[in-house]
């Protein structure tokens, strides 16, 4: 049985429909990410799991218990807040022990657990500090330790890395993954940062305008986006909009600027004449001086952006801009304004109809 089961959850704030008919389940031990742009409903969904918001419709079941109407203090769930929300009048040890105290745990047990948690987040020795005496990174650790102290079945993390600077974010991401694996606690993290979601989570749910757009493993989301939105929001993409046309034995996509319909790698459940798009990741685009066999576009190089190991090359072709990510060592012969051929393996392009 899944640890968390959400079925048909809906929530509106006045005329704003924040969450619309969301159903999903999270298994024990998963590192699950809710990914989406701001205002997509991911935070509202997280707050419904925590109990700060109650769904207008639908059910939330945690570990077999229907908690749809339960208040936050009666749920086996703890949350790490985006602002950390540490108690400013309590020191580090008292912050971590707060939840244990509510449980009625004895003082000696509390002290032991606090010490355990502090060593888990590498903050031993800072027990007596107040939150205002800590750096941003240290506060983040205390917030994590406090949320984990009660050993919740489910830990919710609201934008856990958003307030940290870039370097610290990398380290903390690694640490979060390490702690999650060591404890085996189920984590649900909300983030607007696709790198964070793809890099940490074992499964990602992409949300858009209150609805679930796609759920899957990070590679699945990236390689096989099921909609224009997911293709565009998760990573960079070249989208070719066109119209389905009947070919010899399968449908093709007629795109303005191409002399023949683009072949589709997978069957499409739409009639000829319907609108669809082909999504192609920038690193799948191949550049060559000579015209390669098969589908190819004559392009001019608009810009070459060096990024270290890879370079971002912008191309002008068929009246639009295309984006290619290529290994930097292959860009030596390229000049701005110069002609180039762009091509791709049809198997690397994904057709999206939504």
């Amino acid at each position: 049985m899944a640890l968390l089961e959400i079925s048909g959850a809906e929530k509106s704030f006045g005329a704003v429909r924040a969450v619309q008919d969301v159903s999903l389940s999270v298994e024990r031990g998963e590192f699950f990410a809710l990914l989406g742009p701001s205002g997509c409903g991911k935070t509202t969904l997280l707050r419904m799991i925590a109990g700060f918001e109650h769904p207008d419709r639908g059910r939330i079941v945690i570990d077999g218990d229907d908690v749809t109407a339960a208040p936050p203090y009666a749920r086996p769930v703890n949350m790490m807040f985006q602002s950390y929300a540490l108690f400013p009048h309590l020191d580090v040890a008292a912050n971590i022990a707060f939840g244990l105290k509510q449980e009625g745990m004895a003082k000696s047990g509390r002290a032991e657990r606090v010490a355990e948690m502090l060593s888990l987040v590498q903050m031993t020795g800072l027990e007596r500090r107040r939150p205002h005496e800590l750096s941003g990174g240290q506060r983040q650790r205390v917030a994590l330790a406090r949320a984990l102290a009660k050993m919740p079945k489910l830990l919710l993390l609201d934008e856990p890395l958003a307030a940290l600077d870039r370097k610290l974010r990398e380290d903390t991401r690694l640490e979060l993954t390490g702690i999650q694996q060591r404890l085996g606690t189920t984590f649900i993290v909300v983030t607007h940062d696709q790198d964070e979601a793809l890099g940490m989570a074992t499964r990602v749910a992409v949300m858009n305008r209150g609805e679930l757009a796609q759920i899957g493993a990070p590679a699945e989301i990236y390689e096989r986006p099921n909609s224009r939105f997911v293709a565009d929001f998760v990573g960079a993409v070249n989208l070719f909009e066109g119209e389905l046309v009947a070919g010899f034995n399968a449908l093709g996509l007629a795109v303005a600027g191409f002399d023949q319909p683009l072949p589709l790698d997978e069957p499409v459940d739409l009639p000829a004449g319907a609108a669809a798009a082909l999504a192609l990741r920038p690193e799948k685009l191949r550049l060559s001086d000579e015209r390669p066999p098969g589908i190819a576009l004559a392009a001019t190089i608009a810009s070459i952006g060096y990024q270290g190991g890879q370079s971002i090359v912008h191309l002008n072709a068929i009246g639009r801009t295309l984006r290619a990510h290529v290994p930097s060592e292959t860009t030596q012969g390229l000049v701005r304004g110069g002609p180039i051929w762009a091509s791709w393996d049809p198997r690397d392009a994904v057709v999206v109809i939504r």
């Binding site: 925590a50 769930v77 949350m79 985006q82 929300a85 400013p88 009048h89 707060f98 939840g99 009660k150």
Partner: protein
Amino acid sequence: MLGLGVWGRRVLIGLPFAWLALFFLLPLVIVAGISLSHAVDAIPPYAPLVSGGAIHVSLDNYRTLAGGCLRAYGESLAAAASATVLCLVLGYPVAFAIARAPGVWRHLLLFFVLLPFWTSLLIRVYAWIAILQPTGLLNRVLLGLGLIHAPLVLVNNFTAVEIGLVYSYLPFMILPLYGVLSQLDESVLEAAADLGARPWRTFLGVVLPLSLPGVAAGALLVFIPAVGEFVIPDLLGGPTTLMVGKVLWQEFFENVDWPEAAAVAMVLVVLLTLPLLVVQRFIERERPT
């Protein structure tokens, strides 16, 4: 800084000091001086401290005070202290409710809290006499409802003074409390609930400790003026209640004993400095550095 230069900065810092020295320290020193003199039938009605090359200083006024006025101080402190506690008990839920109210309501409710200041205190206290007297509004309503069988004695006693003090000073408690409570970070309260604290535990463990600076400020704003209050005990307390404000008034205007009145005032200043220092120390200790 502001490009004021050394002299500009000295003037900027010096002005408030000069103001305080001129209008606070100097009058205080004058009053202290008068309190060491004795009354004479002249204008002004006290003997000069220095005359004929000799200094005439006596603590007689303070001795008289210690003999006769202790009850007035005790009663004033008791009335002010209990009014402060009552204001806190009544004002906290009000401030909390206003701080939690939605935006538009918040302004409206704050406006209602301040509304009484639009009428003179004197008129409002007279209104209380009309409400509290044996044939007044309150007694008639209670009799009419059959809750009491004989009118309650609600004027010319300590209860009346207490009602007047609490009524008049309640806004001074509500406003600083509202100040701290409206600044409370909602996510901190959510964190408490998330960690298993029921609403009551969240209040005791998080809201109350975080609002203590507001409690301290409100308590001072009520307690200090309430101790020296004159109008309310004079109008509502009747002849039997004896409070410092009334003693001061009597010594000054009825007995024309300025030195004795000055001594009464000086002791009051000292008494009021004590709670101020205690609260100051408390805030210093709690303030994040």
